[in-house]
């Protein structure tokens, strides 16, 4: 036996399709498509204007094909369906009116929505293709002044807040996918935590892509007012199709003075098969602005799915003494590609950022960390600590680290550490000599490697993440 790669990933557990009647619009993208989406959602004029502006920007933009370390065939943007919603009766008043088939779907995904079975301590917004189908614990949260609802509802009910912050962190012309999203986004989640409130429960959104022809373009906006605190979780899965689906989301976070937002993702989109056929293109723009003094934004991500991951959850540290954190585990196996990392932009005085990135690459997958630490001239005493560790499994896997550091203030301190390791035969033998099976030994070593990141996850998510890594790597060492 040698450390060869017999790559037999266990079946993707979430690969089934819900048989449900959907209302879709014709494929293709034009100004009319944008207007149609806006009309379907009965949006106000300002929202349509926002979309149209984004669309016009997008027309003049290029896909980021050159700088990321990823390769993929041409995407025909005219061949995508930009709106797909499960057919349902007019606006639902309560969960009881949600199509039972949808409730069953989320049940099966481990996200029960019905009153009796709801997860304790976690409020969930369930998004199916282009629309939010249900949000739990809404009333309970409202008592605390916390608004948690679908993005569509927010545009109708909380227009002022949405209008104030939408696009304030990720402008419509930020990049190709963000512009596309801004033009055609269909739904997503909106969270607003008022001044001084500690959100009494975890908030989470579960994204499910079901339609093989539609893309998913969701929009998330989280605003934490002065002194408030919120922890938000995001999960996602999709059926197995042999065609690639585009997922281009935009997430914007705003933290005012002394506010704290913790955003955690366990991304398990369908990754394609062993030969690299099918899977999600996960092209996502996530950015948080620490607008206020002493504010804090912390990103934790466990990226295990998708055929391609292109994502750089970032922090703009504008308020003095604000803190940005990025904890990431990115796992790629078989033909998966990931180019992921973060940007920490230090604007304010005494701003601090921490980046801990763990890349795991197996099969003939390619895994790149790309990170920018930028210290602007006024960021007195800014500090950054970056640690990038890569682990390779087998001899065909690749890992790269691309750290970009731009320092424009001499009083700042920037530290960068990087390492690359392999699971050694000696390590496996040691664990197996104690009676631990080879698969468990691999899991144990990988979990040890990811520990600093897993510690940041809420408990249930950490358990899920541990399990997921084990599954994804099953048989990765032969």
């Amino acid at each position: 036996m040698s450390t060869a790669e017999i790559l037999t990933n266990r079946e993707y557990k979430y690969g089934w399709v819900t048989d449900i009647e959907s209302e879709t619009i014709p494929r293709g993208l034009s100004e009319d498509t944008v207007r149609l989406i806006s009309q379907k959602k009965s949006e106000p004029e300002w929202m349509l204007e926002f979309r149209l502006k984004a669309y016009r920007n997008w027309l003049n933009m290029q896909e980021p094909r050159h700088w990321p370390n990823i390769a993929f065939p041409e995407v025909n943007y005219q061949d995508i369906i930009y709106y797909s919603a499960p057919k349902q009766r007019a606006a639902k008043v309560s969960l009881d009116e949600v199509d039972p088939e949808l409730l069953r779907t989320f049940d099966k995904l481990g996200i029960p929505l019905s009153e009796q079975k709801q997860l304790a301590g976690v409020a969930v917004d369930a998004v199916f293709d282009s629309v939010s189908v249900a949000t739990t614990y809404k009333e309970k949260l409202k008592k605390h002044g916390v608004i948690f609802c679908s993005f569509s509802e927010a545009v109708r009910e909380y227009a002022e807040i949405v209008r104030k912050y939408l696009g304030s962190v990720v402008p419509t012309n930020d990049n190709f996918y963000a512009a596309l999203n801004s033009a055609v986004f269909s739904d997503g989640s909106f969270c607003f935590i008022p001044k001084g409130v500690r959100c009494p429960m975890e908030l989470s959104t579960y994204f499910r892509i079901n339609n093989s022809e539609s893309g998913q373009f969701e929009r998330t906006l989280i605003v934490a007012e002065e002194g408030s605190h919120v922890s938000y979780l995001e999960g996602c899965t999709a059926p197995k199709f042999d065609k690639n689906q585009l997922h281009a989301a935009v997430v914007e976070l705003v933290a005012l003075d002394d506010a704290e937002i913790k955003y955690s993702t366990v991304q398990n989109w369908y990754a394609g098969d062993e030969q690299g056929v099918g899977g999600i293109y996960n092209f996502v723009t996530k950015r948080g602005k620490c607008a206020g003094r002493n504010s804090k934004i912390s990103w934790t991500q466990v990226e295990t799915g998708s055929a391609i991951t292109w994502k750089y959850p970032s922090c703009i540290l504008q308020g003095d003494n604000s803190v940005g954190e990025f904890y990431s585990v990115a796992l790629t196996n078989h033909a998966q590609q990931a180019d992921t990392g973060t940007k920490m932009i230090h604007l304010g005085k005494n701003t601090r950022s921490t980046i801990i990135s763990k890349g795991i690459s197996a099969g003939h997958a390619n895994n790149s960390y790309r990170g920018l630490v930028k210290i602007m001239p006024k960021a007195e005493n800014a500090r950054n600590y970056t640690q990038c560790d890569s682990m390779l499994i087998g001899s065909d896997a690749g890992a790269n680290t691309f750290p970009y550091i731009e320092v424009m203030n001499n009083s700042s301190q920037v530290e960068h550490e990087a390492s690359t390791s392999r699971i050694s035969e000696e390590q496996l033998f040691y664990l197996m000599q104690r009676g631990i099976s080879q698969e468990d030994a691999v899991s144990l070593i990988i979990n040890g490697f990811c520990k600093d990141v897993f510690l940041q996850l809420p408990m249930e998510f950490a358990v899920e993440a541990t399990r997921l890594l084990g599954l994804k790597l099953e048989g990765a060492i032969g």
Binding site: M1, E426, M432, Q433, I436, S437, D440
Partner: protein, 254 residues
């Protein structure tokens, strides 16, 4: 308990073990001595099932079973333990987490009760006394940042937890100061009973002042060239290994 018959093993095409015969009964302590490079660690690793070593001839029976056809983890669960000459570090995995997983695998294999983290903590606390290890070692990553002596003590702790039938201790005495040597040796003695067997692999006879072997075998260039009782170890201490090198030629010639 263990019977090794005419065992040949090679690594990367180099033949290292050249016809080992050894029989170990319950309750016995065997010492395997020999100069550096004679194949002592190779023998230990072959018994434990290290994937780099290929057995080209011979057989090994453990409790009547063909040991060589079992994977390393199954051998371990069946009761074969090897204390490593160079214990491996596993960053980010706590000693307690690792040991509980190992313990429960064995329990499961034997159809016995598995322990939850709290129950296991109590067991670990008891076992840690045997090698005088502090509680803080249980929450630290496996062997990471341990001194040489601490790593060796940690090996014996694992032996105490896993309660193996056959323990192969590879140079467990090397790198230990006199106090640590005493602790480790006393630990091994405490764990020994008439139903178990121990194979001590050592270069020096120092350890044998603390653990008395019933038999001493001298390995040279992949063969056992001399065997005897505990007094053989003293003789080796006095004369060194050089006088045996000729003996090995003779043994090879006959």
């Amino acid at each position: 308990m263990l019977e090794i018959r005419n065992l040949y093993a090679s690594v990367d095409g180099n033949e290292i073990l050249k016809g080992i015969n050894l029989k170990v009964n319950k309750g016995e302590v065997h010492a395997i001595m020999g100069p550096n490079g004679s194949g002592k660690s190779t023998l230990a690793k072959v018994l434990a099932g290290h994937p780099s070593y290929e057995v080209t001839r011979g057989e090994v029976l453990f409790e009547g079973k063909n040991l060589l056809e079992l994977s390393p983890d199954v051998r371990a669960r069946e009761g074969v333990f090897m204390a490593f000459q160079y214990p491996i570090e596993v960053p980010g995995v706590s000693n307690a987490q690792f040991l509980r997983l190992a313990y429960n695998e064995k329990q499961k294999h034997l159809g016995q009760e598995e322990l939850d983290p709290l129950e296991f903590k109590d067991l670990l606390k008891e076992k840690a006394k045997i090698v005088e290890m502090e509680a803080s070692f249980m929450t630290r990553s496996v062997n990471e940042g341990f001194s040489g002596g601490e790593k060796k003590r940690n090996e014996i702790l694992q032996m105490a937890v896993l309660d193996p039938k056959l323990s192969v201790l590879d140079e467990t005495d090397s790198g230990l100061d006199i106090d640590a040597l005493r602790i480790v040796a006393e630990g091994v003695n405490k764990l020994h009973d008439p139903n178990k067997a121990v194979i001590l692999v050592t270069h020096y006879q120092r350890l044998l002042n603390y653990i008395t072997p019933d038999f001493v075998h001298v390995l040279s260039a992949g063969r056992i060239v001399k065997e005897g009782g505990k007094e053989l170890a003293l003789e080796l201490e006095e004369k060194g290994y050089d006088w045996l090198k000729n003996g090995s030629v003779a043994a090879g010639a006959k």
